[in-house]
């Protein structure tokens, strides 16, 4: 940023940041490494290298089905919340009467603040009370949407906070109505927040445990449940292979996004 020569502090900072990046990535690399283990256990040191756990994985249709189920839950949660969470954030930050702003903020974050297990039981109760029980496939989906809602809300709210309103005025002055202004000006500006929020919603949904456990419809399973159940009885690297495949898929997805839209579009 400046023309200054690098000081000791620059190097210390770079080193620190590098270490944090390593801290972030190391456990993930470990998982990938373990998935190629030739040994029987999900443990170190690894006994040789093999692809057998991938074979084991691909011969197990339960993982595949659970992964597809989790993916669709996560995708729907991210998309639905991408819309309603963004709208809610805009309302609360922009339009809500001042005395309602904080109560609304707390309400919108409420699903985060109540213990997930209790929410799960409450919803389980509720769905049985209204007579749909575990046979309604939307029950678990609603649970996921509910729990991941605050992630979109909070991220979009913080993006809106940073947004320079005069751009919106410029758009209105050029004849754009509220919606067009939102779509062409506000949304691109808060896009990093929306994308981050949806990303959080997606991965959180992918990880949700208790809600899925209790609300899943009969005969269906999500990936974390399936993995947990599997690891409960088979402490072998198949689980690592599952993770490696999902990392690889995400990686490819991210690379495609980067090549087409550009991850840089997350900033401006």
């Amino acid at each position: 940023m400046t023309g200054a020569r690098k000081t000791l502090w620059d190097h210390v900072f770079t080193l620190l940041v590098a270490l944090i990046y390593i801290f972030l990535i190391a456990p993930i690399l470990l998982v990938v490494l373990l998935s190629f283990s030739g040994g029987e256990f999900l443990a170190l040191p690894m006994e040789g290298v093999s692809l057998r756990w991938f074979e084991a994985l691909f011969s197990n249709s339960r993982f595949y089905e659970a992964a597809v189920h989790s993916f669709s839950l996560a995708l729907v949660s991210a998309l639905v919340n991408g819309v309603i969470g963004t709208l809610a954030a805009i309302y609360v930050i922009r339009f809500a009467p001042a005395h309602l702003t904080n109560p609304l903020r707390v309400l919108m974050s409420a699903p985060l603040m109540v213990p997930e297990i209790l929410t799960a039981i409450a919803l389980l109760f509720f769905f049985f009370e209204v007579g749909v029980g575990n046979r309604w496939s939307m029950a678990i989906q609603i649970g996921h949407i509910l729990v991941t809602f605050p992630y979109v809300f909070l991220n979009v709210a913080s993006a809106l906070f940073n947004f320079d309103r005069s751009q919106e005025e410029a758009a209105r002055s050029l004849g754009a109505n509220g919606w067009l202004t939102f779509r062409r000006v506000t949304l691109p500006a808060i896009k990093p927040g929306v994308i981050t929020g949806c990303l959080f919603a997606f991965v959180i949904s992918f990880d949700i445990f208790n809600i899925s456990l209790l609300l899943k419809s009969v005969g269906k399973n999500t990936l974390p449940l399936e993995l947990f159940d599997y690891l409960r009885y088979n402490f072998d690297p198949t689980a690592a292979a599952v993770a490696t495949v999902s990392i690889a898929l995400t990686f490819v997805a991210v690379l495609i996004v980067d090549a087409t839209v550009g991850l840089r579009s997350l900033r401006f």
Partner: protein, 291 residues
């Protein structure tokens, strides 16, 4: 002479309908279900039914007066606070770096940042089990480096839980902060430098206060997530690292004590909300200064 145009006043058109779907979601599927849970938390316990017929505030008084519960509350809050603080401390430099870097590898670094989220919670936690066990990677490395001779007990202690939570929650502070830092006009920091302030001072007096919204978002997310995290403390914390969420699950799922468990869970939720509200109060002054 003038014919009035029947229009809503400026910036008043998109109003409450925007929040309607959210209110339906939260009202219909959170408030409403919780209402019956709250009622249940006042039910008497029973072994011949899910709960008895009578009402009592006994579960609450029991929970609130129980030093054991308070011990776990304290551990939970402390762990959450430490995790929040450390993720902020570690996440800020990364966000700062990512916001400024012109490196061609920025996309890769971005992937690095979100990588903890790319591996499912369960597998990730197992990875930490492998790393943190007494004979695991961390202890082996420390031993090899000659820093310790007896293994550090990471597992079944709050320490292991803290480390694993910090890892997985780092993206939750980095990403909101990143958006925030990118939105700050870089010339404002330059102005600080031009007035003779060192980078440090400029950072603390200018950049940091302006990134408060990002810090807020990240801190609240991480704190709340740490308070209610279940799988990580359950798997890595053992009994010494047990948190409120784990205790709640024990009440509700292991011991089938629904009314008491509900009371405990509601107590925990109220506690969390109170801490957040307190935090918002404390930071309100700093936030009010921002445009």
């Amino acid at each position: 002479m003038t014919e009035a145009v029947p229009l809503a006043p400026p910036r008043r058109l998109p109003v409450w309908w925007m929040i309607l779907p959210a209110v339906v979601l939260l009202g219909g599927f959170l408030i409403l279900p919780y209402a019956s849970i709250v009622v249940m938390s006042f039910r008497e316990a029973s072994t011949s039914a899910v709960y008895g017929d009578g009402f009592t505030i006994g579960h609450y008084t029991e929970v609130i007066t129980d030093p054991f519960v308070w011990g776990i509350v304290w551990r939970t809050v402390r762990t959450a606070a430490i995790v929040t603080l450390v993720t902020l401390l570690l996440g800020y430099p990364v966000a700062y770096h990512l916001a400024r870097t012109r490196s061609r590898w920025a996309s890769l670094l971005y992937i690095c940042v979100i990588s903890p989220l790319l591996v499912g919670l369960v597998v990730r936690t197992f990875a930490w089990l492998i790393i943190l066990s007494n004979s695991g990677m961390a202890n082996s490395a420390l031993k090899a480096a000659g820093l310790i001779d007896r293994p550090i007990l990471f597992l079944n202690t709050p320490l292991g839980v803290t480390i694993a939570l910090i890892h997985v929650f780092l993206p939750f502070v980095i990403l909101p902060l990143l958006g925030n830092l990118q939105a700050i006009n870089p010339e404002v920091a330059m102005a600080g430098r031009s007035l003779g302030a060192s980078r440090m001072r400029t950072f603390f007096k200018v950049t940091l206060p302006l990134s408060m919204p990002g810090i807020q978002a990240g801190a609240i997310l991480v704190f709340v997530l740490s308070m209610s995290a279940y799988v990580t403390p359950a798997m890595l914390g053992g009994t010494k690292g047990r948190t409120m969420a784990v205790l709640v699950v024990q009440y509700l799922v292991d011991n089938f004590r629904w009314p008491a468990g509900a009371a405990l869970a509601i107590f925990m939720a109220v506690l969390t909300v109170s801490i957040i509200v307190l935090y918002l109060r404390l930071t309100a002054r700093a936030m009010r200064r921002l445009p």
